[in-house]
């Protein structure tokens, strides 16, 4: 056995021990530091996690008590806006009306296009409406017109637009939103094919956009695409 094989064996066992949670606190931390910079080690760990998860088939499912789900939702969603606990429905209605008006405005303002496949629209909005971007896909030109109606990128940050296609494993970047509130983004043919049933999202990213090809910052706004 060569020294490389031994080192590889050592890492295989180590990644397995980590996946099983058998390492002590110091060993765990050291392993995690290596994980951050060694893709091979991450891959080894991922394989172990996948294998061991197979053992979970031996664990019986047990329905948790009924009170648990509302407790979790309360903890996650109620705490976010304690100042206006009773206005949410009215607020939602207002949001829907605004969205409807926006969609109508778009329809009214943009010149009618020859039919060439469905035209999609989306209102990509933050929950508190601190960021609102209206998007309209022009099937004739293959472009997405975006109109930033509220909010913008934080200082030294950019907004990146994503398409989450129905059934897709990961979001696809449609590019960084330009500084101008109104802009057009040209879409590749294969992306246009993914729009039906998809969702648009905007994330907060470093200048130049996500370095990984996947959202790295907070997802700030979301909106489902619908056909006109």
């Amino acid at each position: 056995m060569t020294a490389t094989d031994e080192r590889r064996d050592d890492d295989i066992a180590l990644a397995g021990e980590y996946a099983l949670h058998l390492l002590d606190a110091d060993e765990r931390r050291a392993f995690e530091e290596r994980l951050a910079r060694e893709p091979d080690l991450r891959a080894l760990l991922g394989e172990w996690e996948e294998h061991f998860a197979g053992l979970s088939a031996e664990i019986a499912s047990v329905a948790p008590p009924r009170h648990l789900k509302p407790a979790i939702e309360q903890r996650l969603f109620a705490a976010a806006k304690p100042a206006r606990p009773r206005r949410s429905r009215i607020w939602l209605l207002g949001g829907l009306l605004t969205a409807a008006v926006l969609v109508l405005a778009f329809v009214a303002l943009l010149p009618p296009s020859r039919p060439a496949g469905p035209a999609y629209v989306a209102e990509v909005a933050a929950e508190d409406r601190s960021l609102v971007v209206a998007a309209r896909f022009d099937p004739v030109r293959g472009t997405l017109a975006v109109d930033r109606l509220a909010g913008g990128a934080a200082e030294n940050r950019v907004l990146e637009l994503w398409l989450i296609a129905e059934g897709a494993a990961a979001p696809v970047s449609l590019g960084v939103l330009p500084a101008d509130p109104q802009a057009e983004i040209a879409l590749a043919g294969e992306i246009i094919g993914l729009m039906a049933g998809g969702t648009l999202a905007i994330s907060d990213e470093p200048p130049g956009g996500s370095p990984t090809g996947q959202p790295t910052g907070a997802v700030l706004a979301v909106g489902a695409l619908s056909t006109l």
Binding site: A19, H21, E47, H51, A53, S56, E73, L76, A170, Q214
Partner: protein, 180 residues
């Protein structure tokens, strides 16, 4: 809504802040994840806390799901199991089994189990069968019950270093079998 693709779709939507998707994901997976917590913590109240924490974490971390490369149930189970084991390790030396948890052996296929690739379950099972029984039992104990090296060594009546050597060798054999 039970195939891996369905669960994945839900996780992605949750990653975008979709509360309805979160609710559906909870309904589809909470029984499996609660089962995982119960098996590790062997205490209903603690398992409730752990699974609650797990779903909070799922809500917060699901936008990063795509980066892990894990299959969806593996991602959910790994996240939940890690939280449960952190809780287990943080408490005083393991209390004796409290007897308030029913036998957790799987009574049969459950809807959620279908989302764990059946082939993966069969592979790890048959590869564990290739190990000597006590060694396979040690790996199972570490994964399913979160047993530490100390607990495994005590249960098998061997010194701690021996247990570690055993287990590391078992892992290499297991990996060898799983890669075939």
């Amino acid at each position: 809504m039970r195939t891996p693709a369905d669960i994945e779709q839900l996780i992605l939507k949750v990653g975008l802040g979709d509360r309805n998707a979160f609710s559906t994901l909870y309904d589809a997976t909470s029984a499996k994840l609660f089962g995982v917590c119960l098996r590790i913590l062997n205490n209903t109240a603690e398992a409730e806390d752990a699974v609650q924490e797990a779903f909070v974490r799922i809500w917060q971390k699901s936008h990063r799901y795509g980066m892990t490369g894990n299959s969806p149930m593996t991602w959910l189970i790994t996240l939940t199991r890690n939280l449960a084991i952190d809780r287990l390790r943080a408490r005083a030396p393991r209390t004796a089994d409290l007897g308030d948890v029913p036998d957790m052996r799987d009574p049969g296929p459950t809807p959620e189990a279908a989302a764990i690739a059946a082939s993966e379950a069969a592979r790890i099972g048959s590869c564990l069968d290739e190990l000597e029984a006590p060694r396979a039992d040690a790996v199972r104990g570490a994964y399913l019950k979160g047993e530490s090296y100390q607990e495994l060594a005590a249960r098998h009546g061997v010194p701690l270093n021996t247990m570690r050597t055993w287990l590391r060798r078992s892992l290499l054999k297991l990996k060898d079998c799983l890669s075939r």
